[in-house]
């Protein structure tokens, strides 16, 4: 709810609530007051009325008491009574005249209908109304009259007011005994008085609805003879005077005792006195005051309609209501004004706040707001200050944002350029990807089709490809291997030591070269079985030459090994078989040559020996070669030996052969005294033997052959130098081939198998060294070989 409305509502509540309460209180107080005062008024009224009524009846009693003592009455009335049958008697006539004169006057004066004088028998002897004479009272006034007559004989007696049955007029009778001057009771005087005066007396209408009501109780139970007249059985209150609202009610209208209407009159005739609000004979609510008049057996009620009674209250209520309406409107207007006045500054501030909330910091503060010295002023001032600060901050921020925005837009530009570049790159990549995919599928097909086992490792040595042959050899399925580090699944070990052989893979990954698996590598299959394998690992490089993995090719060489074994066995067996007979020939020719022989025979036997020797050497070379070729690769048994002593040894051995051709064999001067290297002694011996024997073979007479070595940083280079026939240039590339002999060997008439250098190369390379030569045909040859220093 808006503040203004709240204020209005509050004002209204604050003012109207007391107002309403006051009004209500006033109203009820007024009502009470009215009732109370009216009660008093009514009571007063009723008291007055009672007095009046009593006075009324008392006046007649007084009158009667006066009248009955009148001389005329005491004197003449008895005369009339005595002479009732002699109306002509002058006494009678004279008495009659006197009485009549007085009585008529009296009647006129006191508004008496008739005055009668009855004798002791109840016969009317005189009446102001002659018509009434000569009748009995009974006849005239029935039971009522008789009662009055009897009671009047004794004293003054007033009858109750009753209705004359014939003419329907209400009257009452007043009687008194008449004593003549001798003190004898002469008769009774009865006045018939019209109740009209009584009515006038009784009637007392006041206000709009106020009236006095007189009634008498009639009761068949009480033996009240009047009841018969009215044909009512039971107890009733009979209205004796006309009612304001029922002029014909006199002696006609009754209220049954016990009825729910007309309670006041019921109470009054029952002897009660009191006041209260009840319903009257009409059924209207009235405030009534009731009393019982015991002298006359009358019930008197003075009442007023509650409505009329409370009319002032009602009017007041109305006035109050109007007043309230007016007040409300006034208050409303005042409240509106006040509320507006109070809330305006707040609303003003609220508007400002709203504007600020929307982001508009350029709000103007009304002077009235900021300069008022109440809390609103404080608020306004504080707000103004805060706004000013905010503005500064905002400005500051805006500046910074601007700066940053500039920076960002620059960055953004760069980024979008980068993005475009990326998009282009992506396109390229995508097309590359397609190509690669095609290649990949092709490669996979190839790899699947290859007859050897292939597996490919990535940089982390995890298997990324494992072809069907690899599966077959290893017993592992590709699924079991792919994604895992190969070393965890595929165990490649050295056959003898059982140690893991992963060097060749590691070397390939680092060096980028093809590295052969070491001999006697064994793969442990899934079922634990061992299978000898061979081949190599090669690194895989990307477009830029970076190594990103390696591919390992291997095959089950069990069969090869078997074949090798068979070959070796064959060689072994063959060599035994061959060498034995050759030795036999060698030795027996030796023995033959020791005997005396003719020169011709000796010559022939020599030829046999020479040929045999060639065969022996051939067998020896063939054995070597076949050992090289079975892949046993010369198991190099490395031992630290003094090469120099080996060289010297071999020179000594070859000395005799050299001497035959008068060749000098020397060890070069700058060779060290000793040189220890890790070599296979027997095989290195063979190297020197071959090189030296070649040098000797291919040198002419009286040549010089030098052997020497040079120590380098990581190797030692040995040389065997001759100045023999040299090697023709166009054949130099074949020198190390199997069974090669140069064209020019015929010059020196030697024989040879052509295997020596092949063996030398194999041995040197098995040590990790190199062998080469320099040669010029006709000038000489120098063979070099290097051995690494380990």
């Amino acid at each position: 709810m808006k503040l203004q409305n709240k204020l209005i509502f509050s004002f209204l509540t604050i003012s109207l609530v007391p107002l309403s309460l006051t009004a209500l209180l006033s109203y009820s107080n007024i009502k009470e007051a009215l009732v109370a005062s009216e009660v008093i008024s009514l009571e007063n009224n009723s008291v007055t009325k009672e007095n009046k009524i009593n006075n009324f009846f008392d006046s007649f009693c007084n009158e009667l008491s006066v009248v009955k003592e009148r001389f005329v009455v005491r004197n003449d009335l008895p005369v009339i009574s005595r002479l009732k049958d002699e109306p002509n008697q002058p006494e009678y006539i004279r008495s009659r005249e006197i009485v009549d004169a007085q009585m008529q006057v009296l009647a006129r004066e006191k508004d008496i209908n008739s005055i009668i004088f009855s004798d002791l028998n109840g016969e009317v002897v005189y009446s102001t109304d002659p018509a009434l004479e000569k009748q009995s009272i009974n006849q005239l006034h029935s039971e009522e009259g008789m009662e009055v007559f009897e009671k009047s004989l004794v004293g003054i007696y007033l009858s109750d007011i009753s209705m004359h049955p014939e003419d329907g007029r209400a009257h009452f009778l007043a009687g008194a005994p008449i004593y003549d001057f001798s003190g004898i009771l002469a008769g009774v005087i009865i006045l018939e008085i019209d109740a009209e005066n009584f009515y006038l007396l009784a009637e007392d209408n006041f206000g709009e609805t106020g009236e006095a009501v007189v009634a008498r109780r009639i009761s068949t139970a009480a033996g009240n003879y009047h009841s018969y007249k009215y044909n009512k059985d039971g107890d009733y209150a009979l209205y004796l005077a006309p009612l304001r609202f029922d002029p014909e009610a006199a002696f006609r209208r009754v209220i049954k005792i016990g009825d729910s209407i007309g309670e006041p009159i019921q109470k009054a005739v029952s002897g009660e006195t009191g006041s209260g609000i009840y319903t009257d004979y009409r059924g209207e609510e009235v405030l009534a005051v009731w009393r019982y008049l015991p002298e006359n057996h009358l019930g008197l009620v003075v009442k007023m309609d509650k409505k009329e009674l409370l009319e002032p209250a009602r009017q007041m209520a109305l006035a109050l209501f109007v007043f309230s309406i007016v007040s409300v409107i006034t208050i409303l207007l005042l409240a509106l004004m006040l509320a507006r006045v109070i809330s305006r500054p707040i609303v003003g501030l609220t508007d400002i706040a709203k504007k600020i909330g929307k982001g508009d910091l350029e709000v103007k503060f009304d002077e009235r707001l900021t300069f008022s010295d109440d809390e609103i002023g404080v608020l306004a001032k504080t707000l103004a200050v805060s706004i000013a600060n905010l503005k500064d901050v905002k400005q500051n921020l805006e500046d910074r944002v601007l700066l940053r925005t500039n920076e960002l837009s620059l960055e953004n530009k760069k980024l979008s350029e980068a993005k475009i570049a990326m998009a282009n790159l992506l396109e390229d990549l995508n097309s590359e990807k397609e190509i690669l995919f095609k290649e990949k599928t092709r490669n996979e097909a190839i790899l699947t089709g290859i007859g050897d086992g292939v597996f490919v490792l990535d940089k982390e040595e995890k298997v990324i490809l494992f072809n069907p042959v690899a599966e077959k050899i290893s017993g592992f399925s590709a699924k079991e291997v792919i994604g895992k580090e190969y070393s965890k699944v595929l165990k490649l070990i050295f056959e003898d030591s059982g140690e893991i052989n992963d060097k060749f893979i590691k070397d390939a990954m680092i060096s980028g070269k093809i590295v052969k698996m070491a001999n006697h590598t064994v793969l442990i299959k899934k079922d634990g079985g061992r299978v000898p394998v061979a081949d190599s690992a090669a690194s895989i490089k990307d477009k830029n030459g970076r190594i990103f993995g390696c591919v390992v090719v291997f095959r089950d060489v069990t069969r090869e090994r078997e074949i090798d074994k068979m070959k070796t066995e064959f060689v072994s067996v063959a060599s035994h078989q061959l060498r034995t007979p050759l030795t036999g020939i060698k030795w027996f020719t030796e023995l033959i040559l020791k005997t005396k022989l003719s020169p011709k025979i000796k010559d022939y036997v020599n030829q046999i020996a020479i040929s045999n020797e060639r065969m022996v050497r051939l067998v020896g070379d063939l054995l070597n070669v076949s050992r090289i070729e079975t892949g046993k690769k010369f198991e190099i048994i490395l031992k630290e030996v003094d090469i120099i002593s080996i060289v010297k040894n071999i020179i000594k051995e070859q000395l005799s052969a050299a001497e035959q051709k008068h060749i000098s064999l020397v060890c070069s001067a700058d060779a060290p005294r000793e040189l220890f290297l890790q070599v296979d002694e027997l095989k290195i011996r063979q190297v020197f033997q071959n090189l030296l024997s070649n040098a000797i073979k291919y040198s002419k007479e009286k040549a010089l052959i030098a052997v020497g070595c040079q120590r380098k940083k990581s190797e030692v280079v040995f040389f065997v130098e001759d100045n023999g026939i040299g090697i023709p240039k166009h054949q130099q590339n074949q020198v190390f081939s199997k069974f090669f002999r140069a064209e020019n060997v015929m010059i020196v008439h030697t024989d040879g198998t052509g295997l020596g250098l092949y063996i030398v190369k194999a041995i040197v390379e098995a040590h990790g060294g190199k062998v080469w030569f320099e040669s010029e045909e006709g000038k000489g040859t120098t063979f070099f070989f290097s051995l690494p220093i380990k």
Binding site: S575, H576, G584, F588, E590, L591, V616, G620, D680
Partner: protein
């Protein structure tokens, strides 16, 4: 006069060696297989044994091993003369205590005789 035991299963070669040794004024005895070699060695206690490797019943290496285990026989110098030229074979024999290893086809009888004399002289 020195006694030399010739262990050789080929009788032609055996004959040749025997002839050469006899000319060298040595007393010789022969054995055709490994078992016979040991029996004869124990019996005659030669001054030197020429031992072939490839033989029936017991191989030369086994004979050599047993000779060197035997208290009485281990001091007898043994020269291995064989057609086997495998390095494994050679080193084995050297390990077992052979004084020399000669590949038969590569040596003349004179050369072998010289070696015998040399060894006996030590």
């Amino acid at each position: 006069m020195s006694k030399i035991l010739i262990v050789e299963d080929d009788n032609i070669l055996s004959k040749a060696i025997e002839t050469a040794l006899k000319e060298g004024k040595f007393k010789t005895m022969t054995a055709m297989d490994g078992e016979e070699a040991l029996i004869k060695a124990r019996e005659f206690k030669p001054d030197l044994i020429l031992l072939d490797l490839i033989m029936p019943k017991k191989s030369g290496e086994e004979v050599l091993e047993e000779l060197k285990k035997d208290e009485e026989l281990k001091y007898i110098p043994v020269l291995v003369t064989t057609v086997k030229s495998e390095d494994a074979s050679i080193s084995r024999c050297v390990e077992l205590g052979a004084r020399g290893y000669f590949i038969k086809a590569q040596y003349t009888l004179d050369e072998i005789l010289e070696q015998v004399k040399k060894v006996l002289a030590e």
